[in-house]
């Protein structure tokens, strides 16, 4: 399959600020040269976030490699979903949220006031825990994002292409005009992925995308994630450690201590995290001693 020939919607005023690329990985746990990320799609620097007066995540610094799958793992309440939602500023929708730190997407600090979260969210797509197709036809589900972003190309081609990339086309090509809600759970989640692809993002955030799906549907989504990583940067939050081990290139382990502030404990190549964790807490978590 060729590269996606989805045109950039009308006004791509996504202008990287001229700002020097930040220095190499700063996280203490990640030291080995082989771990070094030279081509980062996203770089977080000391991200902290508060819900009102309660801090949820603290000082998270990590780089996310371009065109790879990065998994965020950790027990419930460790702030991994919150951190994921920093990357497309979905947290902005919660009135009491406050953030500090810097989050670079291709050299632009997306937490900067000058960045429009609406424009950011086209570039950084998201797939949610529970499949949430719109109560509209399969076709309109995929076309909606393109429409609101002023896409001027051929919609039939766009819809077909997005559905093909999401490995759903063969199953729905004869029912493009039936409700998206009539599909099975796994199909609905792939429809949501197709919907995200149709606006031509660079990064796709997935917040426990398989937690509501059966094992077979889960496997299809995991296969799809591997395929999509050729063209997109994927960040996936998962509770399922086997899933992280199967699909991701790199894994970040987060944990909240008694202060309930989620922090990054260890970040590295997935293989290293699962076979030779450097931190005792990581080892305890991946071997199932807590969490």
């Amino acid at each position: 399959m060729t590269q996606p020939h989805i045109d950039t919607p009308a006004t791509p005023h996504w202008r990287p600020l001229s700002r020097s690329r930040a220095s190499a990985a700063t996280q203490g746990a990640v030291g080995a040269e082989t771990d070094e990320i030279t081509d980062a799609a996203i770089e977080a620097k000391e991200i902290s976030l508060w819900y009102g007066s309660a801090q949820a995540i603290g000082d998270i610094t990590l780089k996310i490699e371009r065109h790879r799958v990065t998994a965020l793992i950790g027990p419930s309440g460790c702030g991994k979903s919150t951190f994921l939602r920093c990357m497309n500023r979905m947290n902005d929708l919660i009135p009491s949220v406050r953030m500090t730190g810097e989050l670079f997407l291709d050299d632009q600090n997306i937490l900067d006031q000058s960045v429009d979260p609406v424009e950011l969210r086209r570039v950084v797509g998201m797939v949610f825990q529970k499949p949430n197709p719109f109560p509209k036809s399969v076709y309109d589900n995929v076309a909606f994002g393109a429409r609101i972003n002023g896409y001027k190309g051929n919609y039939d081609e766009l819809v077909q292409h997005a559905l093909e990339r999401a490995a759903l086309w063969d199953e729905v090509k004869d029912k493009l005009h039936t409700s998206g809600l009539a599909l099975s759970g796994g199909q609905q989640q792939r429809l949501c992925i197709a919907r995200a692809l149709a606006v031509n993002p660079q990064v796709i955030l997935m917040d426990e995308p398989c937690s509501a799906l059966d094992p077979i549907a889960t496997q299809r989504i995991e296969d799809l994630m591997r395929e999509l990583a050729e063209d997109y940067t994927i960040v996936v939050v998962t509770h399922n450690m086997q899933q992280a081990a199967r699909v991701s290139d790199r894994t970040a382990f987060m944990l909240a201590r008694e202060d309930r502030v989620g922090r990054l404990v260890e970040y590295g190549l997935t293989e290293q995290i699962f076979t030779a964790p450097r931190d005792q807490r990581t080892e305890a978590y991946i071997t199932g001693r807590f969490g």
Binding site: M90, L93, P95, V118, E119, F128, N132, F144, I148, V199
Partner: protein, 299 residues
């Protein structure tokens, strides 16, 4: 060894057959109690309906619908009050619905969560509970007197629009709040602006609920009497309304008028008009139900 184990079946620590049968008796009794309560309400309604229909059915003929009011009961009809009701309701809907739906969208989707919003919400809830006669006093002071509209269709519609505004806002708010948050988040995560998410996804889902609320509010306005009498719509109208500055009368006002007459024959007229009004209000409620069920099927 010391683990707590559930009691074995048949253990005497569980309640015996006697208590069990008492529970079942209580359950059966409660069923009859609630059935009786529901039946009583229906019975009262049935008696009222029978009484009205038996009195008024005889007056329901074409002449009754096409005649103006008259001092002769057998020549009086609903023509001017039906036309007046139509004008007032149509104008009320045109004025109240856009404002109500707009307010609801603003409250649910755009408003910052601060003290100002709290004050507005509290006021809406209070206003929805204000007796309609108060709206009549307001309409009389502001529209009829201060704005110099007189007891016109315009003044009546504005008064009714104010009256149904709070409950329509609350119904629309409720409908918008029922939209699953995944739909809102899904749209926003694709790079939709707030308005694009509202227009493209949230409103279509909320629409049946909003329409239902609007129709129920119209039904309420259709039966409204006190506030319209207050603004001075208690007049004898023997012409077809053609301008919003016209004086007017409405169906419930006509009913009230007839019930105040001493002659027995006017009571029959009132009963017949009540039947007409009941059918109209029932029709609105039926439409509301149909709209709701119809849209639900497409989900």
């Amino acid at each position: 060894m010391t683990a707590v184990r559930p009691e074995a079946p048949g253990s005497d620590r569980y309640q015996g057959a006697r208590e069990r049968s008492r529970r079942n008796t209580l359950s059966a009794a409660s069923r009859w109690f609630f059935l009786t309560a529901a039946a009583l309400a229906l019975l009262v309604l049935a008696v009222l309906a029978y009484d009205t229909i038996s009195q008024g059915a005889g007056r329901l003929n074409l002449q009754f619908f096409t005649s103006y009011p008259s001092r002769f009961a057998d020549q009086a009809g609903l023509r001017s009050s039906l036309i007046g009701s139509g004008w007032v309701l149509a104008l009320t809907v045109v004025m109240a619905v856009p404002i109500a739906v707009g307010t609801a969208i603003w409250i649910e989707e755009f408003a910052p969560d601060n003290w100002f919003l709290t004050v507005i919400k509290l006021n809406l809830a209070n206003l929805a509970g204000v007796p309609s006669i108060i709206y009549g006093v307001l309409g009389l002071a502001v529209f009829v007197r201060f704005a110099g509209m007189g007891p016109s269709i315009l003044a009546g519609s504005l008064t009714l629009a104010l009256m149904i505004l709070p409950m329509t806002v609350i119904a629309a708010q409720e409908a918008i709040r029922q939209v699953p948050s995944g739909i809102r988040d899904g749209a926003l995560a694709l790079g939709a602006t707030r308005w694009q998410a509202v227009r493209g996804q949230i409103l279509p889902v909320a629409l049946p609920g909003i329409v239902t609320g609007v129709i129920l509010a119209i039904a309420r306005a259709a039966g409204e009497t006190a506030s319209l009498i207050m603004i001075g719509a208690f007049t004898f109208i023997a012409f077809d309304n053609s301008r919003i500055t016209d004086d007017f009368t409405t169906l419930p006002i006509q009913i009230y008028n007839w019930t105040t007459r001493p002659q027995e024959a006017f009571r029959a007229n009132a009963a017949a008009a009540i039947i007409v009004l009941m059918v109209i209000v029932l029709a609105f409620n039926l439409i509301a139900t149909i709209v709701r069920n119809r849209f639900r099927r497409f989900r």
